[in-house]
Symmetry: C2
Subunit: 467 residues, 2 copies
C-alpha cells in the first residue's frame, strides 16, 4: 500500500463512505480492502494502480448522480470501470479514489429493428448485446478480443475495435447518443436516436475514447446493422512478411472489402501451434487470414486468393465451410494467450500505420526484437494497418522486463515515424501518456486539456489518464 493510501486509512475515509452510503444501498458500497483491491486495475502491464477508498456498484442513474455529487463535494477522484479488460491502465484506481463500477447497470433497454438501434446501460457485456440483437436479425459489429466479458461502457470509453473493423468500423461509428453524468452530478444527453443529425458540436463522439475523463456514461443509443451472411474464411501462407504485406496492398487497392483480414507472423503461428496443437504451417513466415460474408463468399475469396498467389503466397487454402472457417479464426483468437505462454507474459502494443507501411513496420519490429534480444510476436488487423506487437518477457526477470519496456517505446516511435498513431483501438490510459503528447503536439495537447476542463473543472474524473 502506498504512503498516501496508508495516511488516508489512518485519517479514515468515514466522511466519504458515510456520504456515499447516504444515496446508495449498503451492498453497493464496497470498502473491504481485500475486495476493493480486486478492482484496482485493468489488464495493462507496466501501469501502477493504487488502493481505492471505495468501490461503488450503482444500479440507477440517480445513484450515479449521487456518487458524482459526493465526489465533487469532497474533491475525491472517480475512476469509472467496466470489466477491467482494458490494456492501457485507463481503469486503474488512484489511491483514495472512488471506483465507479458499472457492472450492475447491465440492462438492454430496447432493441428496435425498424430504426436499427439498441438502447443499453453501460455495464451490458458486449457478447450479451451481440447475441440479443442477433436474435432479432441484427448485428452489433464491434468485437474486441475480450468480447465475451468486456462491457459496452468500457468499449465506449476506450473506442474499441476488433476483427470486424476492416468492413464494419469501430465502436465510435455505432454510438448515436449518450446519457452522461457530469462530475458535478448534472445529466447531459448527447446525440440522437435518428440515423442522421448535425445539431451542434458532436459531443457524443467527444465522449467515445475519452476513457472516463470527462464524465460517466450511464446510457447509450447504439446503431445496429442487419445480420451479415455466413462468413467464409481463407488462409494464405507466405514465404516472407514482405510478400504478405504486398498481398494486403494488392487486396485493398483492388477494391476488396473482406469482413476480416488478419496477419499472424511466424512467431505467433508457432506459439499458437505450441499452445493449441492446431497444426498451422510451421514453415510459414507470415499467415494471412481473410474472410467474406457476402452472398457469394467463395467467389470473392477466390479473387482475393488469386491476389495472394500473385504476391507470392506458397499456399492458399480456402475453408470448405463455416466449421473450417471457425477453426481458422480460432487460431487467430488464440494468438494472445499463445504468445503469453511463450515467456510468462506479454506486453501488447497497438500501433496503427497506413496499410502501405505495414511491411516497413514489420521490418522495424524485427529490428527492435533483435536490438533488445526479445521475442516479439505480431498480429495485425491487416485491413486496417492496426498492429499488435506482443513483446514476450518473464516478469520475474528484471533485465528482460527492462528491455521489454524499452522495446515498447521503440515500437511506438517506429509507428509515429511511419505516419501512424500510437493507438488504434486500446487507448492511452496510463501506458501511453507521454506518447500521446508526442502524437498530438503542443497545440493539440493544450486544447485537449482545456476541453477536459470544460467538463471536469475540478479534475476529479479519472485524473492522470490520457495526459
Amino acid at each position: 500500500m502506498s504512503d498516501q493510501a496508508t495516511a488516508r486509512e489512518e485519517a479514515g475515509d468515514e466522511p466519504l463512505i458515510t456520504a456515499l452510503r447516504a444515496g446508495l444501498p449498503a451492498a453497493a458500497v464496497l470498502t473491504d480492502p481485500d475486495v476493493t483491491a480486486s478492482y484496482a486495475g485493468d489488464m495493462a502491464g507496466f501501469c501502477p494502480s493504487g488502493t481505492p477508498a471505495a468501490v461503488v456498484l450503482p444500479q440507477t442513474v440517480e445513484q450515479v448522480r449521487h456518487v458524482m455529487r459526493t465526489a465533487t463535494e469532497l474533491r475525491v477522484p472517480v475512476v469509472p470501470q467496466g470489466a477491467r479488460t482494458g490494456l492501457s491502465g485507463a481503469a486503474n484506481a488512484d489511491d483514495g479514489a472512488i471506483v465507479l463500477s458499472f457492472v450492475k447497470m447491465d440492462r438492454i433497454v430496447e432493441i428496435d429493428p425498424v430504426n436499427r438501434i439498441a438502447v443499453v446501460e453501460p455495464g451490458v457485456v458486449n457478447a450479451a448485446l451481440s447475441r440479443a440483437v442477433a436474435a432479432e436479425g441484427l448485428f452489433y459489429p464491434p468485437d474486441p478480443s475480450s468480447w465475451e466479458t468486456c462491457t459496452i461502457g468500457g468499449n465506449i470509453g476506450t473506442g474499441s475495435g476488433g476483427l470486424c473493423c476492416v468492413k464494419y468500423g469501430v465502436t465510435a461509428e455505432y454510438v448515436l447518443g449518450l446519457d452522461v453524468v457530469l462530475p458535478d452530478g448534472r445529466l447531459l444527453t448527447t446525440g440522437r436516436r435518428t440515423a442522421k443529425g448535425v445539431a451542434g458540436y458532436d459531443l457524443t463522439r467527444l465522449f467515445v475514447g475519452s476513457e472516463g475523463s470527462l464524465g460517466a456514461v450511464v446510457g447509450a443509443t447504439l446503431a445496429l446493422k442487419p445480420a451479415p451472411g455466413q462468413q467464409l474464411a481463407l488462409a494464405a501462407e507466405f514465404p516472407s512478411a514482405a510478400a504478405a504485406c504486398d498481398a494486403i496492398c494488392r487486396i485493398m487497392a483492388d477494391g476488396h472489402v473482406p469482413s476480416l483480414l488478419e496477419l499472424m507472423d511466424r512467431t505467433t503461428v508457432r506459439a499458437v501451434n505450441t499452445l493449441t496443437k492446431m497444426g498451422l504451417p510451421e514453415s510459414t513466415e507470415a499467415l494471412l487470414l481473410a474472410a467474406y460474408d457476402t452472398p457469394d463468399p467463395a467467389a470473392d475469396l477466390a479473387a482475393l486468393g488469386a491476389l495472394c498467389t500473385a504476391a507470392g503466397a506458397t499456399e492458399v487454402v480456402p475453408a470448405a465451410d463455416a466449421a473450417e472457417s471457425e477453426l481458422l479464426l480460432a487460431a487467430r483468437r488464440a494468438a494472445l494467450p499463445a504468445l503469453e505462454a511463450v515467456s510468462g507474459t506479454t506486453m501488447i502494443d497497438d500501433v496503427c500505420v497506413p496499410r502501405s507501411r505495414l511491411g516497413a513496420f514489420l521490418d522495424g519490429v524485427a529490428g527492435i526484437a533483435a536490438t533488445y534480444d526479445l521475442t516479439i510476436g505480431t498480429c495485425v488487423h491487416a485491413g486496417d494497418g492496426n498492429t499488435h506487437p506482443n513483446v514476450c518477457f518473464d516478469p520475474a526477470d528484471a533485465d528482460e522486463s527492462a528491455r521489454a519496456r524499452k522495446s515498447f517505446d521503440a515500437i511506438m516511435a517506429l509507428g509515429l515515424e511511419l505516419g501512424g498513431t500510437i493507438t488504434g483501438e486500446h487507448g492511452v490510459g496510463l501506458l501511453k501518456k507521454e506518447w500521446l503528447a508526442k502524437e498530438l503536439g503542443p497545440v493539440g495537447l493544450e486544447l485537449q486539456r482545456e476541453i477536459k476542463g470544460v467538463f471536469d473543472p475540478l479534475g476529479i474524473m479519472n485524473p492522470g489518464k490520457l495526459f
Copy 2:
C-alpha cells in the same frame, strides 16, 4: 446597408484592409462593395446577412494564418465560406466581417488507393473530388444535392449528407483528419491518416458540423471506399403516404441495405411533372424510389419490391437498365427546383425523425400545411428518416411569407416531438439557433458554448451562428 456598416464605412476600414494586404496578394483582398455584396450570404431563406468589410481569397495556409492573426489583433469577425450553397445561413456575413473564402484553395493533394484516402484543400468542389477518385476506382460517397458546386470544406463545416447516406453514411464518417488554423493563427492538426485511431479526444469530429465557429479548416484527409457496382433503381407508387411509410419500415426491418431510398410526396411528384414533363404517375399519393448497387441489384430490388407490394403499392416499376435508373433519380434531383417553381420560392426544412415515425411526421406536415394554408411538398431520404418539407410561398406576398415562417417553426416542433432532430444534414447556422437551444437543453447548450470558448476565446469565428 445597416447603420453599423455605414458607420464602419465612414470611419474607414483602412487599418484592416492595410493589415490584410500586408500578407496577401492584392488580388486576394476584395473590397469593392458590389463585389463583396455577392459574398454576403448562402442560399438560406429568412436569414439576415450584413456587409463584409472585405472578402479574402487565400491560396496558402500561411495566408490563412495571416488573415486569422489580423482578425485577432483587430478583433474583427471572420466568416469562413465555401461555395455558399448552404441552407442555414451559416456562411452569411456580418457587417464589417472578413469573409474568408476558400474557393481558391482547391487542390486535390493526394489520392492513395492502397490506404483509400484523399488529401484535399477545403475549396475542392465535391464533384471534382468524386470524379477524380472515381478515375482511380475509388468512391467518395457524400453527395449533397449541390454536389456539382459545393466544396468539401463547406461539406465538412455543415456535416453534409445526400442521397447515398442510407448505405454509405454522411460526411463526418469520411473525415479522418484535419488541418485547422485557429483564430489566433496557430495551426492545429487533428486525427490521422490511418484507418483506425483513438489517440485522445476526437477533435476531428468536433470540427465536422461546427460551421466555421471554432477555426478555419485548411486541409482534410478523407476516407474513400472502393467504387460500388452500377446502381439499378425501382419506383413504387402508393395510394397513401401511410402505405409508403409502412413499406419503408418493412424494408428496413427486413435487413435491406439499398444504396438509395427516397420518398416523394404527391405535391412533389406533381411539381416535378409540371417542371420537367417527366410523366411520373399523377395519381400517386407517394412515390418511393429505391436503388441497389450490389452484384445482383435486380434480385435485391425484386425482394424490396415485393415488400412494397405487400405494403399496398399499386405499382412497382423496376428500371430495366442504368439509363432508366438515371431517369428515376433525375426526377428526385429535380424535386427542389420543381417545388421552387410552384410559388416563387421555397423554404426547405431538414428534420430527421426515427424511420418508424415517418408516417406520423408526414401526417403532421399535412396538418401544418392545412393550418397555414400553404403548399408543402416533402421529399424524404426515407432510409434515414431525414425529411425535407419544402414550404412553397411567394416572397412578395407578406402574409404568405409570414405563414411560411410560422409553418417552419411548427415543423421543427413536430420533429422534436417525434423524437427527431432539427437538422439531419443542413446545419443550424442562423436559421435554427433558437431550435438548437431547445434540442440541446440548457446543460448541452452551456457545454457547447464553453467548448467554443476553448478554441475561440475572443468570439471572432463566425459569431452568432449555432448559438
